[in-house]
Amino acid sequence: MIERLGLVTTQLPTATSSAMVLLAVVMPVLLGVLGGAWRPLRGWPGLALALIPLLALLWLVQQIAVHGTQAWVLELGSLTLHWRANGLTLLLLLLTQWLVLASAVYTPAYLRVAEQALGRGAVWLWPLMGLLATSLSLIWMAADLLTLYIGLELMGLTAVGLILLPGREEALAAGMRYLLLALIGSLAFLLGVALLLGSWERLDLAGLAVVVEPSPVLWVAMALLSAGLLLKAAAFPLHAWLVPVHGSAWTPVSALHAALVIKASFFIALQLWLVLAPQAAAAAWLVGGMGAAAVVWGGLLAWRADKLKDVVAWSTVSQLGYLLIGFPLLIGTSTAVASIAWAGVWLQLLAHSLAKAAMFLAVGNLMLATGESRVSGLAGASRRFPLSLLSFGIAAISLVGLPPSAGFTAKWLLLHASLAAGQWPWLVVLAVGTLLSAAYVFRVFRYSFVEDVEREDYRPVPLRMDLVALALALASLILGLTATWPLALLAIAGGTP
């Protein structure tokens, strides 16, 4: 399994690709700081924030596709940092920049409509968003525990900062609770790292994969690492902090958080398991069980939720469960099963990120337009805001996993993998999850089709905001039938193209 992560490569980086990687990683934060000098209502810093790294990344994809995985070793005094760029990394980097681009275009218009008086804190928006993009890029590229820790810590703190931006009381309460939990998670992670360092005296993942042996120390370290990461990923039953955070943050921040931040913790967790404990099937089943519970519990609460944003937030808890099912399918299974599940897990991650971001933005638009935050406030929306509702609908198709969306293709792969592995419980979980998610999204639709409402005080949102949501939703739809493209990129794993 480890070769799929591209940790072992003989390919030396070229000077240009190093420059491009630096551009992709460092540029967002530089531009963000620069953008902080202007008021956040201006759109262009955000645009540059994402567009320049995106172009650099596209060039890098070309390089990697031709030459295969590349790795960098950075010597900083006594510290050695390992970075690598393979197909998976690039896919996640592209996803990150694409979503940052979308929220950068969306945010200025959103703030103009949503916030009458912007507090002083709002100047922090672009710097924080840039920092978030950088820390995520670090996490995707990291091939050693130190970089991972730096990235994780940076990401957590930036996310807290972004959530605190609205400055309202409930945002402060949710943000501080999040900060506390994120710190606990980081602490657990750090302890795990320390244990590994103490026992095997190295931090690079490729090296650790060779030297670690099953031992109580490893199990304790793995338990600490996983606990910390799963807490940050809002995995059931450690998910309670997520809904208030999403409910009180600015909509584009919620979108980025749900689409990327919690995925980063999941990514690290899966990577560490594959590297350090690739045969721990029993423990992987435990994580799968947590996933199953998350699918059901998150789905049920999304169905019962009264507020629109809570529906979307609970749906994140539920959908993350699908990803956790990847653990038992990837760990300790045959190569045939694992290769199907591998494609399924990452496609599911892509699909969910795009669809969830689109759904948050669409819901944000609907809430601004109707002035209602409750699901029942949507009555009559289908006639008045068809575009927002269309974005919501397309995103919903992908979340439920109906064809022809990427969510469907991913679910198909996960179902196939569970069948091929003979792991029946996951079939049931995926089926129940589908029905529950259909139940909660169609509940929203049901209200929107109500016709007999007489209300006049609607505030249509600027077209730009609708188009951003639609673009993200369409991306999640189109990836369904064109899944060969991301999967071909995923296939660029080891040292050879």
């Binding site: 494609a343 289908s382 109906l402 022809p404 469907f408 792969l413 196939h416 069948l419 049901r446 089709f449």
Partner: protein, 501 residues
Amino acid sequence: MSQAWLPLITLATSLLVAPLILLLPERAWRARAVLNLSAALLKLLLVGLMVVGLYQGREFAFGFTVVPGVEFLLRVDALGMMFAGLSSLLWLATTVYAIGYLEDSPNRKRFFAFFSLCVASTTGIALAGNFFTFLLFYELLTLSTYPLVVHRGHSAALAAGTVYLRYTLSGGLVLLLGVVALHALVGDITFGEREMLRDLGPEYHSLLIGLFLVLLLGLGVKAALVPLHGWLPRAMVAPAPVSALLHAVAVVKAGAFGIVRLVYDVYGIQLTFELGLLTLLTALSVFTILYASLRALAQQELKPRLAFSTISQVSYIVLGISLFGPFGTIAGLAHLMHQGLMKVTLFYCAGNYAEELGIHRIDELDGAGRRMPLTSLAFTVGALGMIGLPPVAGFISKWYLGIGAVQAGMSWVIAVLVASSLLNAAYFLPILHRLWFRAGPEHGKGQWPEERHLGRFETSSWLLWPTLATALFSLLAGLLAGLPFSPLDLATLVATEEYLP
């Protein structure tokens, strides 16, 4: 080159119309009508081209890989062409009808966009070359029908929409599980590659039976096999063109068509027979035919009666394919087309009565034949066809079903056919009697519930012409059944391919 693209373009005609309609403003009804009608005409033309090509033995296929081992495949074969022909012909008629029916009502843009999407899904189902592609469009059909069912937005419509989704999404999920399982077992099965399952050997037979049942459960929901039929009568709250095209033709036929594909092109009739599954299908369809007819008899409103009649009639298709032998096949497949034509006519008529006179209940129909002679004539043709009287198309279906039953050595099915025809007569003849022979408001007795004068003729010509056209087609399909390109001829072509290696 053009041969690979023809199925794709056919699909695109209605698929691309949907976003175009959404882009047009709500007011621009003329532009929308032109767009709709030209797309429908173009599609009919393209399907015609493919049918001609098929008779000349040409191959049309388009495909690409979605994920390794899973292919998206559009392919033209005789069976698919029957369904595509039916849906594109009726799309044209129903578009005309819907333009008239929805005149001046709100949300027309949304209606026509999803309507086109439905037709695109139906075309996709018809052209699908493997189970994955079929599933894709089968689910898309569910999604695109929901906004049409809840179109009116009142609480009855919303409740019906919820029931509809509960049934169809669960059915779709079960189907998905079955298809994935089949995929895990033997990989991608192109429709027609029957040997893949046949060669598996007897140790797989119990597994295959299980899978067949799962797939049948998934498909049976849309085909409205009793006891999975509960959504159909409720979905009748939808506007008349929706009930006509979608619930008489597109949705229920998608289910029936799926069962046909499952039996003939995935398992193969031989294997299905050997596994003893044909008997199950016969039993299911006979039960559905009789039960739904009895329920139809009890309905006091026109549309629910037609809905139960649909449930009953669609099972004739399943009954036909479950009779082992070419005549059963021909009967089942020809009925796929015949029932569509006749039932759509009946639904148009129901819509005309409701629009022009405000009639919803059967006992309000007294004397309507005098007020609306042409509509009532069309209704009579459809009703007689359903009963199975010559020369309407329904007679051909029942005749071939009878022969098929004898050929398969199941003569008791004839008794079922007779019983069902009697039941059909029992619920249709009283309506005809009321239409033509009872004195009503037009004879100076009582008054119509809500009379409107919609057009120069007995009702708006947008509503009238499609009704007459489909009634005429139902007659012609029966009268000219022996000519090439008739439904019977196409059905014979399929049956020949099926039984002659």
